[in-house]
């Protein structure tokens, strides 16, 4: 039992932080927002040069080994910059689903391309999906980076499939999305040929998706705090740094109280999944709901504590705020995750 990063983990964290803060700049992110919400050059560099894209995928399947802890470290660093990248969809949800539910042949066919960034994969979920022989029919109105994907991992509550974006019956519709760093597309599959994955893909996608989303939220929340602290020491009103006003200080302190808990949640969940602990189920629900709520609160506070400037398009506060909102609503709302925990504690409601 030692709930602290290993030296290797510290190194990964430093590498990832340095990479994203240097490269995932506001200017580049805004350029991506005006296009398909992906900084493609950055993604290519991340996948091909940094050597971290295979983290969490077994070496046997072509990955770099390690686990969700290390994946969370990277997602946290990317989230701190609101990087416009398909990390959550392509690496956490899709690649983990394929690694867990795919055959060696499927691994070989898809994972190297995803990990190299050549294939962008996205995650489609439809509880009402119907399968008929080798084809499936399904629809999902909120597929993150769906327009940019060439491969979809599609799940119902009981099964998982792989679908190529250029397969027959696939329509992909771009939608104006509040968080322009992760635009949502409507994807419909009508009697579309699909390769089945083993159902193990579902839990793997969920576990990795919840943890990666939570880690991204953690990084974002901490960045909101850090940037607001910095602003509060620069900005002077009433002849004082605004960070010297006690009510302002206490609000920042409350942010840290939440963030520290979110940090515990993220790494508890990642660790519990990696160790196959009994606690993994409750931990991933706790992490997703708590970290997303923390992020939303911190991003809202960031706007508030910046005053008018924080409400402008040119300031980055809204990038955090919109990302935070999207992390709350995607992959199950906070209330939904908490109800899942309540069911573990109390059974189904009568």
């Amino acid at each position: 039992m030692e709930f602290a990063f290993t030296d290797e983990q510290v190194m990964i964290a430093e590498t990832a932080r340095a990479f994203f803060s240097e490269n995932a700049t506001s200017a580049r992110t805004r350029k991506a927002m005006a296009a398909d919400g992906i900084d493609h050059a950055l993604w290519t560099t991340f996948c091909k040069e940094l050597g971290l894209s295979g983290i969490g995928i077994p070496e046997a399947a072509g990955g770099a080994g390690l686990g969700l802890i290390e994946l969370a470290i990277i997602a946290e660093a990317a989230g701190a910059q609101v990087a416009a990248l398909p990390l959550l969809g392509s690496l956490a949800l899709a690649a983990q689903a394929i690694a867990a539910g795919g055959s060696p042949a499927q691994h070989a066919r898809h994972l190297p391309a995803i990990l190299s960034g050549e294939t962008i994969a996205a995650y489609v979920h439809d509880a009402a999906l119907t399968a008929d022989g080798d084809t499936i029919t399904a629809a999902d109105s909120f597929v993150a980076h769906g327009v940019s994907a060439s491969l979809f991992v599609v799940t119902s509550n009981t099964g998982a499939w792989l679908v190529s974006a250029d397969a027959p019956g696939v329509t992909i519709t771009a939608q104006t999305t509040m968080d322009q760093t992760r635009p949502l597309a409507r994807v419909t599959l009508t009697a579309t040929p699909a390769e089945p994955l083993s159902p193990a893909a579902i839990a793997a996608a969920h576990n990795a998706g919840y943890v990666a989303a939570a880690a991204e939220a953690l990084g974002g929340a901490q960045a909101c705090l850090d940037r607001t602290v910095a602003y509060s020491l620069e900005r002077v009103q009433f002849g004082r740094q605004i960070g010297s006003f006690q009510a302002y200080k206490h609000r920042l302190a409350d942010m840290l109280v939440e963030i520290e808990q979110a940090r515990s949640a993220v790494y508890w969940a990642a660790c519990a999944v990696d160790e196959g602990s009994d606690e993994a189920a409750i931990a991933v629900h706790a992490a997703k709901s708590f970290a997303a709520d923390t992020y939303f609160r911190c991003a809202g506070d960031m706007i508030q504590l910046h005053g008018g400037i924080g409400f402008t398009w040119d300031h980055d506060a809204h990038l955090f705020f919109k990302r935070a909102r999207s992390l709350q609503s995607m992959l199950g709302s906070g209330a939904w995750h908490r109800e899942a925990i309540a069911t573990m504690l109390l059974g189904e409601a009568a």
Binding site: Q175, M178, D179, L184, F238, R240, W313
Partner: protein
């Protein structure tokens, strides 16, 4: 204590409703239902003039200046019916609600004669030049300089958050007219025409993609020597008097807008089934309670004719509605779910509820942040010690 309206007041309500509905079904049907402040400015200026032509522009003002000397109850009724009829907000609301009452209270007879009829008539649209990049919460630290030169005020500086400046005719500005002063002393309140080379207006895009606010750059901007309200050095007193008018009857019209937003959320909840979710039900009930209490808080504040005592309802009103509306935006998004995060518009434009979610983040900032409001409540309402100024 009495909440009901008299039969005569109910007649007045019918008269207001009839006229407003006729307008929204007739000549001005094209602007019915507009909620964005920035939409259709030209038609809305025409609407100001139509209101004035029928003496509905400023019913609480004296008849002498185009008003009707309306009672409080009548003003309440008109404000409610105005919004109920789907009429868009007043494009000259700063003129009607702030500049007008300020002139009525502090202006000279000549200034009243010069401005009030045109404000009432919708011919002079006003905007407000108070905040500066370095003077937000600390409004008294304005640096924009005003100098009297050869019978003219010459003004240099930068104002920010000048809402609707780009469609306004006049701007009132607080300027520092005594060199070497700091804080509330040495300020003067000037009214300046906008259409002059010394005034440059640049839109500020907000997080919802809209651009209601502006930066206003004043570079040797000019106005005649008699453009000041009150005396030189009176600027702070006038500005504070003006801000008190923000809590007028117009708040009830604003509330009717909130009613529309809440109703839209209720409709959405019924449509998508979240109306069955006990958590959503609690939050909708809380929102409903909050809105009702806002109405009765406003009526208490407006009915309180004893201006000498501290009025808790008035002091707490801003933070109450701003916090309520920000929560409403979050509730709206939780009712809509992910569907609230996508828009059918090709550009970055948002329907009422997602726009509410984004825009309401500004409600707790402009016109005095929640933090500033709490200072005021604690210091003026509860008599607690004032925050000390620093020396930076």
């Amino acid at each position: 204590m009495k909440l009901g309206f008299s039969p005569a007041e109910e007649d007045f309500r019918r008269e207001c409703a009839a006229w407003l509905n006729a307008q929204m079904a007739g000549e001005f049907r094209d602007i019915k239902g507009i909620t964005k402040l920035t939409a259709s400015p030209q038609r809305r200026k025409e609407w100001e003039q139509q209101l004035a032509a029928h003496k509905w522009s400023c019913i609480g003002w004296p008849a002498q200046w185009g008003g009707r000397d309306a009672t409080l109850a009548q003003q309440v009724i008109f404000a409610e019916e105005y919004t109920r009829a789907g009429v868009p907000g007043r494009v000259n609301h700063i003129g009607i609600e702030l500049a007008g009452p300020t002139l009525l209270t502090f202006g000279t007879p000549e200034q009243q004669q010069r401005f009030l009829p045109d404000i009432a008539a919708g011919k002079t649209i006003f905007c407000q030049g108070f905040s500066e990049p370095g003077a937000g919460s600390d409004l008294a630290s304005v640096r924009t300089k005003g100098l009297l030169e050869k019978g003219e005020w010459v003004v240099n500086g930068q104002k920010i958050w000048t809402s609707l400046a780009h469609i306004s005719d006049w701007i009132f500005v607080i300027t520092r007219t005594t060199e070497g002063t700091a804080g509330p002393k040495g300020l003067t309140f000037l009214m300046m025409p906008i259409d002059q080379p010394g005034i440059d207006i640049r839109g500020i895009t907000q997080i919802n993609g809209d651009a209601e606010f502006n930066e206003t750059f004043l570079t040797d901007a000019r106005c005649p020597a008699d453009s000041l309200i009150g005396n030189v050095g009176d600027g702070w007193r006038i500005a504070m008097g003006l801000l008190a008018f923000e809590r007028g009857v117009s708040t009830l019209g604003q509330q009717m807008g909130f009613r529309t937003e809440l109703d839209e959320i209720i409709t959405a909840a019924k449509e998508n089934g979240t109306a069955n979710d006990p958590l959503i039900r609690q939050r909708l009930a809380k929102a409903e309670i909050g809105l009702r209490l806002m109405r009765y808080g406003a009526l208490r504040m407006l009915s309180n004719t004893d201006n000498s005592s501290i009025d808790g309802a008035a002091l707490t009103y801003k933070i109450q509605w701003a916090s309520w509306r920000r929560s409403l935006g979050e509730l709206a998004m939780d009712v809509l779910g992910q569907a609230g995060e996508i828009s059918d518009a090709p550009g970055y434009e948002w329907d009422t509820l997602p726009n509410l979610f984004l825009y309401s983040r500004a409600d707790t900032i402009y016109g005095g942040t929640n933090q500033i409001q709490r200072n005021l409540i604690a210091e003026r309402g509860l008599g607690l010690p004032r925050e000390p100024r620093g020396t930076l």
